[in-house]
């Protein structure tokens, strides 16, 4: 491996932190889903790096699973966002407090 594993961890960590920031701070449902996606991908990067570091295919298999889960998550998430937008006419998460 040309790139040291620690660098992969640092990149993954930075991207994960960006994802957390995006999910927590942005007042927009779509941006929140985007943040969650970014976090998932950060984890996938670390998995792929670890797979190469220990020469073990399990990590890459896991990345494929993460991709599938992320795709279905986006499909369901966007569907729910569209529904929520039709109900309330807004993307602001603080408007959705019916469960309270």
């Amino acid at each position: 491996m040309i790139v040291p594993f620690s660098h992969v961890l640092v990149v993954g960590g930075i991207i994960f932190a960006l994802g957390v920031f995006c999910a927590v701070v942005r007042r927009n449902l779509i941006m929140m889903v985007l943040g969650i996606e970014i976090m998932l991908n950060a984890v996938a990067i670390v998995f792929a790096g670890a797979s190469l570091r220990w020469q073990n295919l399990d990590g890459q298999t896991f990345v494929l699973f993460i991709l599938a889960v992320a795709a279905s998550e986006v499909a369901i998430g966007l569907g729910m966002i569209v529904y929520a937008f039709r109900r309330t006419g807004s993307f602001d998460p603080s408007n959705f407090n019916l469960l309270r």
Partner: protein
């Protein structure tokens, strides 16, 4: 093996030839979609370089002793890897040259044909994608790589059939082509997985060697051969998956010339030739291939007899000629099949391109209409189409004559005379339907022709204009010259091709081609002349009514015009099994089981939510923040053992 320097230059030339059109595809789609002229010059420039490279490779290959193979390993881990590279031998270099030259000619022709179309750039992008995929397919060293590019040419076929996507029939035809070829490809996929399980190896030279059949039982060998043949049936539109090809004529005419007659549909036959030694080790499978080829050949010729749509006649004729090639290969005539593939690519592309000129000028696909509008006044396409039709019917000295004689010769070498009879019947029908069309086109009857059915109005978006005729004429002239000359290259080509086969198969092929030439040769020629004479009697001579003998027998006419009810059968099958069977069950499952469960769950959730609603403020982001904070604290606790 060859010297090191020749090896390197061959690999470089191949990489350039196969990658450059793909680069053009990407550049056009990303950067130059708004600038049609630049897109076209990019695509044509790329394909010109590819053509030059493949001609160089042909020159290099003539001097080479053995095949050149070069591959890199992809996805290498855990003791498994996928080799990706090139296999350059006589057969692949021949296919490469055929594909590159027809691609080049058709792309030049399209400059005139597609001029002014709003999707001009998109068209050239897809054409480049096709050129790249098809050339890589030709030089694939493993079945897996071949399969990947096999699917890519299928994709570009889908995109180009549905090119005029505003037209409902075009999108439907694209979908039909995609689904039907995919049905064959599933069999192909299972077939090579079976091979992989038995031999642990998908490399084409290894499969063609004696080791592959030694490791498999004869039954498994036959099963794998039959399953792989399923892919060939789908791609080359053979029986029973033949009805997608006539519908594919909804695409632009140059697309039909390139993909659906000369190169892509011939990929199936090419795969057959590629794995010929492997297939020929299973006599049962070869017998079945022979039967499938014969059935498709005869069925499609009967359909061509009654069609009024000029492109559909050539489409049926393509199925029929591909059937001829599969018959020849199934009978052991390796050279006959590949030679017919080469000559057919030339003259069938020519037929389509000529028809394209007429359709472009007069805006209709109907042969009678074209004849009445005065199609014969256009000298170059008229002369070319007559030449190409004569080559298709197998008249000397045109290229089709030589290849068809080779096929009939290999049929005559078989012990069972039925195959020879079927091939001769095919020769007769081919001559009949080709010259029926030619006579209707050249000798129109303004008042007497049968009335035009409503469904055959001008339905192509490219209707009547005269522009671009010059740029369209040159490819016609070049292809016509090739059609005249190519047949005389038969003998050198045979020596060139047979070098690439292992010894046993060569002997089998040669013996099949050597025997029985004498009288079957004259019989084929006589029957072609008889077919033409019948066409002259019914469509050509002075008082002829231009009504074929089939049209006088209504039930037979309906059978042929409805494509032997194959489409109806598929429609019924889809309706009964998929619409009313599987999708009904799925619908009920979705409604009762899944929806019921989710409704139940959500009602339970609502109920319990009411109870738990005291506890929260309903602000989701605060909760997210708390979750992350807790997780950070927990990870600090676990990793650093603090607190």
């Amino acid at each position: 093996m060859v010297g090191f320097s020749a090896d390197i230059s061959a690999v470089t030339a191949l990489s350039v030839a196969t990658l450059l059109p793909f680069v053009a595809f990407l550049l056009i789609l990303i950067f130059t979609r708004k600038r049609p002229r630049l897109s076209a010059s990019l695509a044509i420039g790329a394909v010109t370089v590819s053509l030059a490279c493949s001609l160089t490779l042909l020159g290099l290959n003539l001097k080479m002793a053995g095949p050149v193979q070069y591959s890199v390993r992809l996805l290498a881990s855990s003791g498994f890897d996928i080799p990706f590279g090139f296999l350059l031998d006589q057969l692949s270099v021949l296919m490469l040259v055929v594909v590159a030259s027809i691609c080049f000619l058709v792309q030049v022709y399209s400059l005139g044909y597609m001029a002014g179309d709003p999707g001009f750039s998109r068209y050239y992008a897809f054409m480049s994608l096709f050129a790249s995929a098809m050339m890589t397919l030709s030089v694939s060293p493993t079945i897996l790589q071949l399969y990947i590019f096999w699917e890519l040419v299928g994709l570009s076929s889908y995109l180009l059939i549905g090119f005029w996507y505003e037209k409902f029939s075009a999108t439907q035809a694209g979908k039909k082509a995609f689904v039907m070829t995919r049905a064959g490809d599933v069999a192909f996929f299972i077939g090579f997985l079976l091979l992989f399980l038995h031999t642990g190896n998908l490399s084409i030279p290894d499969l063609n060697g004696p080791a592959a059949s030694a490791t498999m039982s004869p039954a498994a060998h036959t099963l794998a051969a039959l399953l792989i043949f399923g892919g060939i049936v789908g791609k080359s539109a053979q029986f029973p998956l033949l009805t997608w090809l006539p519908d594919a004529m909804e695409g632009p005419t140059p697309v039909s010339a390139l993909l659906h007659s000369a190169t892509m549909v011939a990929a199936g036959v090419y795969l057959f030739a590629r794995l010929f030694p492997f297939f020929s080790m299973s006599p049962t499978a070869m017998e079945i291939f022979l039967a499938i080829g014969t059935i498709s050949m005869l069925l499609a010729s009967t359909m061509a007899i009654v069609s009024r749509d000029i492109k559909k006649v050539w489409a049926y004729s393509t199925i029929s000629q591909l059937g001829f090639m599969i018959m020849a290969l199934g009978a052991g005539g390796y050279f006959a099949g590949v030679f017919h593939l080469t000559t057919h690519a030339g003259f069938k592309a020519l037929l389509f391109l000529c028809s394209g000129v007429f359709i472009h000028r007069y805006g209709t696909n109907d042969v009678y209409e074209l004849g009445r509008s005065g199609a014969r006044r256009m000298i170059v396409p008229t002369v070319s189409i007559v030449l190409a039709a004569a080559a298709l019917s197998g008249f000397p000295p045109l290229s089709g004559y030589f290849s068809k004689e080779a096929i009939v010769g290999s049929m005559a070498g078989l012990p069972n005379p039925f195959w020879l009879a079927a091939a001769l019947a095919g020769v007769f029908l081919t001559a009949y339907y080709s010259f029926r069309l030619i006579f209707i086109l050249l000798l129109p009857r303004p008042e007497k022709g049968p009335p035009v059915p409503a469904s055959h109005g001008p339905d192509h978006g490219e209707a009547g204009h005269e522009s671009g005729y010059g740029v369209m004429a040159w490819p016609l002239i070049i292809l016509a010259a090739v059609t005249v000359v190519l047949g005389f290259l038969g003998n050198p080509l045979e020596h060139f091709l047979l070098k690439s086969l292992p010894g046993g198969a060569v002997a089998a092929g040669a013996s099949a081609e050597g025997a029985g030439i004498a009288w079957s040769h004259w019989a084929a020629l006589g029957l072609a002349a008889a077919g033409t004479a019948l066409a002259w009697l019914e469509f050509g001579r002075g008082g002829a009514k231009q009504i074929g003998f089939v049209e006088k027998i209504p039930p037979l006419y309906r059978l042929f015009a409805e494509r032997w009810y194959i489409d109806r059968f598929y429609g019924l099958l889809v309706n009964l099994v998929i619409d009313r069977g599987i999708s009904y069950i799925c619908y009920q499952n979705d409604k009762k089981v899944i929806d019921g469960t989710i409704d139940g769950l959500s009602e339970a959730t609502i109920g319990s939510g009411r109870i738990a609603a005291f506890l929260q403020s309903g602000m989701i982001q605060y909760r997210l923040l708390v979750i992350f904070a807790v997780m950070v604290l927990l990870s600090i606790y676990f990793f650093f053992q603090v607190l």
